[in-house]
């Protein structure tokens, strides 16, 4: 009997994985979006193989070099190859954003589950506190946290989690409330199942779609925020190759070496457009109203 249950659960997990892959492939924008994101990940991972240059080694000889066979996109004021720095630039943004997004979405979903299921005063208090965090502009929260704890990678991750968990909670909570009103939940409650059993068995499989879309969307916001932070000088520290930082460093040279600014901008925009397309496509093929995701 148990073997049967286990095997059926296994097939179900495989079935839902298949369903997600099918949904992605069935939508052109999701396919393109995920393609762009995966491309960025591959480029960031294989950056050391793809380029002969070191992203942080200065080379006075080629300072502000024009694009040429040696430096395809030219070099910046310190003579570092712009293409190299752009390729490496994804490493920081991708790692930090990925970690931050995973934690934000997981934590937000968990809090949402508890708030929605318990209801009453628990729900009220959670909602109130999260609303207060949302009331502080994201950038200000980030600045304060970075000033207090420094600008290490994990601090940035922590800051992004603080800033965005509230939003995830709002969205997932609304989705969970919708599921909780269904009769199969009433059946589970009447069987006397506990909160975590109901959340895990009955609720989360039904809000997985929402959570996945939420993941893609929050990732795009977090990339945006982290690069803005780097741009303002509160994120990645020089000479780390990072897109936001590169724009900040090179924008005064825009008239002389426009590619030094344009290259990181294009890279960043590609990643975020990819994430947005993925979120759009997923939402569409799952039949979720993506704008409700924004609102919560």
């Amino acid at each position: 009997m148990t073997a049967v249950t286990v095997s059926s659960r296994f097939t179900q997990n495989r079935a839902s994985a298949r369903r997600v892959v099918r949904s992605i492939l069935s939508s052109k924008s999701a396919t393109v979006g995920f393609g762009l994101v995966i491309l960025q990940i591959i480029l960031a991972i294989f950056a050391p193989v793809l380029t002969p240059y070191n992203p942080t080694t200065n080379d006075a000889m080629s300072a502000l070099a024009d694009p040429s066979g040696a430096h395809l996109l030219g070099a910046d004021a310190l003579g570092r190859d712009i293409l190299t720095r752009t390729l490496y630039g994804g490493q920081y943004a991708l790692t930090v954003s990925f970690a931050a997004t995973v934690i934000t979405v997981a934590l937000g979903s968990l809090i949402a589950g508890i708030a929605a299921f318990r209801g009453g005063i628990v729900d009220e208090v959670i909602t109130r506190v999260l609303d207060s965090i949302l009331a502080i502009p994201a950038i200000l929260s980030l600045l304060v946290i970075v000033t207090v704890f420094g600008s290490g990678q994990w601090v940035i991750v922590f800051a992004a989690v603080v800033v965005y968990t509230g939003g995830v909670t709002r969205v997932v909570r609304a989705a969970i409330l919708d599921v909780l009103s269904k009769d199969f939940i009433t059946a589970a409650r009447a069987r006397g199942e506990g909160m975590f059993s109901i959340l895990l068995r009955e609720v989360f499989p039904n809000v997985l779609d929402v959570i996945l879309v939420e993941f893609a969307m929050r990732a795009s916001w977090i990339v945006l925020l982290i690069s803005s932070l780097s741009f303002l000088g509160f994120g990645a520290n020089p000479p780390t190759p990072d897109w936001g930082l590169m724009v900040a460093e090179n924008r005064n040279l825009m008239a002389i070496a426009p590619l030094s600014t344009v290259a990181p901008i294009v890279a960043l925009a590609t990643l975020i457009v990819g994430l947005n397309l993925a979120a759009d496509g997923l939402a569409k093929s799952f039949g979720i109203d993506r704008m409700k995701e924004v609102l919560g």
Partner: protein, 649 residues
């Protein structure tokens, strides 16, 4: 003007949509070679089950199709216009002058942000610009549809009206432009039976007094029979039969029509009607539906499994002057193998009682006692606190159940199971049939139960265990819901409107299943429904609820015999069945149930035709008609005698 002028002519109409893409692309016909016609002043009924294309046909009369559908053949002509040949300006003029539609659910069809006056004025094209004349005409129209307090209603918004009132407003708006043809899409579906009767009476009056041409879409043969002069029976996009209503419904020529008519339960005939076998019908066009009804046999001297005593439930956070608790003083028993029907209109508290028994709603007062497993486990829990008494059920006297499910023992929770109205939401869409049925078996460690056994109990093939709910039909999903409930081997099943959302041909097969399960497994059923014909078919005993109070209780024969509570009688009179005379209109009573029960006296006093002063202040006494038949009323027995609604079979 020629009196036999044709106002609607649908000629060989085919409506299709495309599905799939690339190599899988194919064209699906929603309507296939449909031809119907209607002469001025007559009423055409379009009847069929879900998916028959009847609403598509109604929309086509107004030149409106779903955005993905298109006409792939034939024409629609209404009042001399070839509807689908009209340009957009002509189409607008056609909709202004010639046709109007009363949509299915006026609650969704009225614009929520506009006042009623504005929404009527939109259709008063002759009075454009003259605010005062518009207002007067709008008020006149609301009076015509018998909306209470029409003047004040003009400045209200749609959500401030009840469902029945919204439907009346919808009719008023449709009448405003004085259309040649009025199309009504399921005009009374979703309304309570008394409200439905009142709206249909109104429509019939309007039709006769203005000799209006109407097209009525309905799944309800009784409604069609009462309202229409002609009828077209649709099945899967095709017209199987078209003609005068008396002829088609009185002596149907097509086996589908015959089967459909035979599968409708009736209040004047006991027993569960045969179900329509679509497969047999598809295989053999000459197939003849058996008209054999399954007679329900009530258990004799069965032990009581559930006793509810003096149950009260109160949703109010604080007392509101003049109102009483939602449910008050409800007492009844359910015996093993017995099917007890809990009947009432919306707001009667019938579902509240079920959720309270299930431990999902805390009662304000009263006790719920479960015999057998519950009692043993309850005693064990109180004595030792350990062991939980799993499975060691000893039948016998009972101890009251805890108020909330969290404080009930496993055995107690196992003993009470639920089945729901909406099969779509009662199963987790992400879990297979097997997982859904296996869960209670695992949780309660039910011995001797298996998914395969439960599936065969509900007459589904074992291969269905791998399926997801989305791969099942509505009736099949409802069967899985039943299998999940009985796999726990309960003593009591709470069945909340479990056949209300199903097509009539599926309905009777589910009823027959419930009958079999109750008898073979000795499960007591509390069968909640608003449908008296279903009650007549399935119930052993009946409890009639009004505003959370029991007004009448008796065996099914007693309830349908000629001594009734005035409320039961109102319900019986309001039922519209195929083949009735349809000449009587309902006595002029308020057709709307008040929002909350009164604090004192009889709950029905505000609508009762034989109300007296005492009814407003004193709780009515129990009037025992016989040992098993009780009426809660201040009247005397002779006052409660009426013509039986039927001749006993």
């Amino acid at each position: 003007m020629n009196t036999t002028e044709q106002v609607v002519g649908v000629d060989d109409l085919t409506v299709s949509y495309r599905t799939g893409s690339g190599a899988n692309a194919r064209q699906v016909d929603v309507l296939k070679n449909v031809s119907v016609s209607l002469e001025r002043g007559r009423v055409l009924g379009l009847v069929g089950e879900s998916g028959s294309g009847k609403s598509t046909l109604a929309g086509a009369l107004l030149g409106s199709l779903r955005s993905t559908s298109f006409i792939s053949g034939g024409t629609v002509s209404v009042a001399g216009n070839d509807v689908f040949a009209l340009g957009s300006a002509e189409l607008r003029r056609f909709r202004i002058n010639e046709v109007a539609m009363v949509p299915q659910n006026a609650g969704n069809a009225l614009t929520p942000t506009m006042k009623i006056r504005e929404q009527i004025a939109e259709s008063l094209h002759g009075l454009r610009g003259d605010k005062r004349a518009q207002r007067e005409r709008a008020e006149e129209l609301l009076r015509l549809v018998r909306l209470p307090n029409p003047r004040a209603a003009l400045d209200r918004y749609p959500h401030q009206f009840s469902g029945g009132q919204q439907q009346r407003i919808g009719i008023a708006i449709a009448l405003a432009s004085d259309p040649t043809v009025l199309v009504l899409d399921e005009p009374t579906t979703g309304l309570d039976v008394v409200t439905q009767a009142a709206i249909l009476d109104l429509l019939l009056d309007l039709q006769r007094s203005r000799s209006m041409s109407m097209v009525i879409v309905s799944h309800d043969l009784g409604v069609i029979d009462k309202m229409c002069s002609d009828v077209a029976v649709l099945r899967m996009g095709e017209i199987v039969e078209f003609g005068g209503v008396r002829q088609v419904l009185g002596s149907p020529g097509h086996p589908y029509t015959r089967g459909l008519i035979a599968s409708v339960p009736r209040i004047d005939r006991p027993g569960i009607p045969p179900s329509l076998d679509h497969q047999a019908l598809d295989a053999d066009a000459e197939w003849v539906q058996s008209d054999e009804v399954t007679l329900r046999v009530a258990p004799v001297d069965a032990p009581v499994v559930l006793s509810v005593r003096d149950l009260s439930v109160d949703y109010r956070r604080r007392p509101v002057a003049g109102t009483g608790p939602t449910v008050q003083g409800v007492s009844f028993d359910v015996a093993a193998g017995e099917i007890v029907a809990l009947v009432g209109e919306s707001g009667s508290g019938k579902s509240t009682i079920a959720t309270t028994i299930a431990g999902l709603q805390r009662p304000a007062a009263g006790s719920i006692t479960l015999a057998g497993a519950g009692a043993a486990a309850g005693a064990g829990r109180r004595a030792a606190g350990a062991g939980g008494g799993a499975g060691s059920a000893a039948r016998g006297g009972g101890a009251p159940l805890a108020a909330t499910v969290a404080r009930r023992s496993k055995a107690e929770r196992q003993a009470v199971q639920l089945i729901f109205q909406n099969a779509d939401t009662s199963l987790n869409p992400r879990k297979s049939v097997e997982a859904a049925i296996q869960r209670p078996i695992d949780l309660f460690k039910v011995r001797g139960a298996s998914v395969a056994g439960a599936l065969s109990d509900v007459e589904l093939p074992g291969s269905y265990s791998e399926r997801l709910p989305g791969q099942l039909s509505g009736g099949e999903r409802q069967r899985v819901g039943i299998a999940r409930a009985i796999s726990a081997q309960p003593q009591l099943v709470l069945a909340d409107e479990i056949v209300s959302a199903l097509d009539v041909s599926v309905q009777s097969s589910i009823l027959r299943l419930v009958d079999t399960l109750a008898t073979s497994k000795q499960i007591g059923f509390l069968f909640i429904t608003h449908d008296l014909a279903v009650v007549r078919a399935i119930a052993d005993r009946v409890i009639v609820l009004y505003l959370g109070r029991i007004v009448e209780e008796g065996t099914v024969e007693q309830i349908f015999a000629n001594v009734s509570h005035p409320y039961t009688r109102l319900l019986l009179d309001a039922v519209i069945e195929l083949g009735d005379e349809h000449s009587d209109t309902l006595e002029k009573v308020a057709d709307e149930v008040p929002l909350a029960p009164p604090e004192h006296g009889c709950p029905f006093a505000s609508r009762c035709p034989i109300v007296r002063d005492v009814c407003l202040t004193v709780t009515p006494p129990d009037l025992a008609v016989s040992e098993t038949h009780h009426i809660t009323c201040h009247a005397t027995l002779p006052e409660l005698i009426h013509e039986p609604a039927f001749v006993a079979a």
